[in-house]
């Protein structure tokens, strides 16, 4: 059965293929989810909660404000008082015994939709995944085109986030109890509908991971992971605004600074590497020697040390040089003074440091790419009267680019991660913003989870883009 699976995409499925275990598991998952949503899922909910403080302040919250409760209570938390008592009023779900559909209908008809939006999204994802999976199945079973490649990717993405969505929808029920409401989570334990739906989503995921092998479009399918990680971050912010929304707001500009540093550095890295790479294949011993010395020396020094050197030691070097010029002769004194006054901004220092360091590594990639082109290409170009530089520009580099691009793309992703080191230079990048927030609140777990998720989204996203460009630039040899 495993052997004749290759033509499942674009061809009518044979009888045996229609009974493929993955399609059957997928069907079971769809059925479980759709049925489970009619069964009680969250039969009880917190109708209202009254929190009293030592100074006499009380905070009263009602459903659905409670969905976003922490966000609100945190903002109105009395600063000088301590928590004295919490009384919680549980109520049975009013509509359809608290089934998934019941909650959806109720939430969708709530007055202030934006308060419950994240809850709706969490609860909706498994159903949407089930519907997409069902569409995939129906096409597979009835259409003469068999499996739809695009649907595989979409269903896989949704199947990845469906279990998370379900679990997070449950957290909605209890999570705001964390700081103010001392509530036992067991009060709000979900019932059968939840567990069956969860089992269904896991079946979907299993089936889709199996089916994913049918698709040739791996790069596209892996976008699912980017999407999933981004979605986790989004849900964290939405379901636990305290502290995640606050962390997000705090580290947001760090992301832009990180991106700016990386993009600007990368631009200069490419220029340096082109020169370095050409130097490393040069037949002139002087140019070759200088380029090799640069590559060998820089690759032998840790990036962190290079950054610290540029930030702390370089200004001293400039001072000494400037003084020397001032003393040397009055005609040089203004130039010397400029050197003494020269102060790199942390941002500039970071860009210079990353460029110098990564330039060395990427130079080697350029060198390898250029020398991978058969020397006959250079000879043919030269025999037609092209100069060395013309041959490089029109013949060698356009071919080398295709060899160079994938590893250089990987270097971009590595640069994105290594850029976190510039936080030692007082650059307010993503990492440094995270450190600052943690120093203020001591919420280390939450802070670093958010920072890690942000980096993950950026790196996974860039990896996919690199992969995409790579497939686009392949050519017939």
């Amino acid at each position: 059965m495993e052997t004749d699976l290759s033509p499942m995409i674009g061809n009518r499925l044979s009888k045996a293929q229609q009974r493929d275990w993955r399609l059957l598991v997928l069907a079971a998952g769809v059925a479980l989810i759709l049925v489970a949503y009619f069964m009680p899922m969250y039969p009880n909910y917190i109708a209202s909660a009254r929190t009293s403080f030592s100074g006499g302040t009380t905070i009263e919250l009602n459903f659905p404000a409670l969905i976003n409760a922490q966000f609100y209570t945190q903002t109105t938390l009395p600063k000088e008082e301590t928590l004295s008592s919490v009384s919680i009023h549980l109520a049975p779900a009013r509509f359809m015994h608290g089934s998934g559909y019941g909650w959806l209908v109720q939430a969708l008809t709530a007055d202030n939709l934006e308060h419950v939006l994240s809850f709706i999204v969490c609860l909706l994802v498994p159903v949407v995944a089930a519907i997409t999976a069902l569409t995939l199945l129906l096409f597979a079973w009835t259409s003469k085109h068999g499996l739809r490649e695009g649907l595989i990717a979409a269903t896989l993405s949704l199947s990845l986030v469906a279990p998370m969505g379900l679990v997070l929808s449950w957290l909605h029920q209890i999570d705001f109890s964390g700081l103010l409401l001392r509530l036992e989570p067991s009060y709000l334990l979900p019932s059968a509908g939840f567990w069956i739906a969860l089992a269904g989503t896991l079946l979907l995921l299993t089936a889709m991971i199996g089916l994913q092998r049918e698709s040739e479009r791996r790069p596209f399918t892996w976008w699912a992971l980017v999407f999933a990680v981004g979605f986790v971050a989004f849900l964290l912010v939405k379901t636990k605004p305290q502290p995640y929304l606050e962390i997000w707001r705090y580290i947001q500009d760090g992301i832009f600074i990180t991106l700016r540093i990386v993009v600007i550095s990368f631009f200069f890295i490419l220029i340096v590497s082109l020169i370095g790479g050409l130097g490393r294949v040069s037949r002139s011993p002087v140019i070759y020697g200088i380029a090799s010395l640069y590559v060998e020396l820089i690759r032998g020094i840790p990036l962190m040390v290079q950054l610290l050197f540029i930030w702390f030691a370089l200004p001293q070097l400039f001072d000494v040089l400037g003084m020397a010029f001032v003393k040397l002769s009055p005609s040089f004194s203004s130039f010397g003074q400029t050197l003494i006054d020269l102060r790199l901004s942390p941002f500039t220092a970071a860009v210079i440091g990353l460029t110098i360091c990564y330039g060395a590594y990427v130079s080697e990639i350029f060198r390898a790419g250029i020398s991978s082109i058969h020397h006959g290409q250079m000879e043919a170009a030269r025999s037609l009267g092209m100069s060395y530089m013309q041959a490089m520009r029109y013949i060698i580099l356009p071919q080398a680019i295709r060899v160079i691009l994938p590893p250089v793309g990987n270097e971009f992703v590595a640069l994105l991660k290594d850029s976190s080191l510039v936080s030692v230079l007082a650059v307010s990048d993503l990492t440094r913003r995270g450190r600052e927030y943690m120093a203020r609140t001591f919420l280390s777990f939450e802070t670093w989870i958010m920072v890690a998720l942000c980096y993950l989204v950026l790196t996974l996203f860039s990896s996919r883009v690199v992969e995409y460009i790579e497939t686009k630039t392949r050519f017939e040899h």
């Binding site: 030269r382 025999s383 013309q390 071919q399």
Partner: protein
């Protein structure tokens, strides 16, 4: 070594006492070679592997720099580096491995050097390229990439690419030895046409049919030296040297 019957014209290529060694003098590729090629001549060079045939060709357009001696092309001595690109425009070269540019279409392969070296406009260059594709018999492959056409077709494109620069001399380094037998003829036919048109050609090849039909002169090389320099008839009927006889008996079976 015997000079050909008195030549009234000046050599378009003059090779004077050229020597070339590799690996720090351990391998002698050319050993004090002196030679003239005249306009309109079709010269075939034969000789055992490693005898220096390719090196001789590559010295003519300076892909190799001679250790000593002087090569003069159309009156321009190659010792002066500034002349090299100018001279290379006048000397087309066709390689054993075709060396087409795989990232460019057949048409762009022929256009590129015309534009960047000869400074022709794209329209001019394209017109010339299309004419040449007709001449080598594959106008329909203009938009194809080298990887999509056969070896024989690739070699014909390579010839067209070299001709597009309107060279005065064409060098061929074993143009058919990387080809499947059924494709050899189509390339040789193009070369025969070229010879009939009066192009000056220096061809390293062991295709004896081509030598009989097109060559005006055959040179036998061994150990970096010119052993015999004569007409095809003379070489095939009465080779002077024992080495030549041995070699010919090997390649003619």
């Amino acid at each position: 070594m015997q000079a050909l019957a008195a030549e009234p014209r000046a050599g378009i290529i003059q090779i004077r006492n050229v020597s070339k060694t590799f690996e720090h003098g351990r391998v002698v590729a050319l050993d004090d070679v002196s030679l003239d090629f005249f306009p309109g001549q079709v010269v075939v060079i034969i000789g055992p592997s490693g005898s220096g045939k390719s090196t001789l060709l590559r010295c003519i357009n300076h892909l190799e720099t001679p250790d000593s001696g002087i090569v003069t092309v159309d009156g321009v001595p190659l010792s002066d580096a500034t002349n090299i690109n100018k001279v290379r425009m006048e000397v087309g070269m066709v390689f054993q491995q075709f060396n087409l540019f795989p990232h460019l279409t057949v048409l762009d392969n022929i256009i590129l050097a015309q534009r960047v070296v000869r400074k022709r406009t794209t329209a001019e260059a394209e017109a010339i390229a299309r004419d040449l594709l007709v001449k080598v018999g594959i106008p329909e492959k203009a938009e194809a990439y080298p990887g999509q056409i056969s070896g024989g077709q690739q070699q014909r494109v390579a010839i067209a690419r070299a001709l597009a620069m309107q060279p005065k001399i064409m060098l061929f380094d074993e143009p058919t030895s990387a080809l499947d037998p059924e494709m050899i003829k189509e390339v040789l036919d193009v070369m025969l046409d070229l010879a009939r048109d009066g192009m000056t050609m220096v061809v390293v090849s062991h295709e004896m049919g081509f030598t009989r039909n097109a060559a005006s002169r055959v040179i036998f090389m061994d150990d970096g030296q010119i052993i015999e320099d004569t007409t095809p008839q003379a070489l095939f009927s009465a080779p002077k040297e024992q080495r030549t006889r041995d070699f010919l008996s090997k390649i003619l079976h």
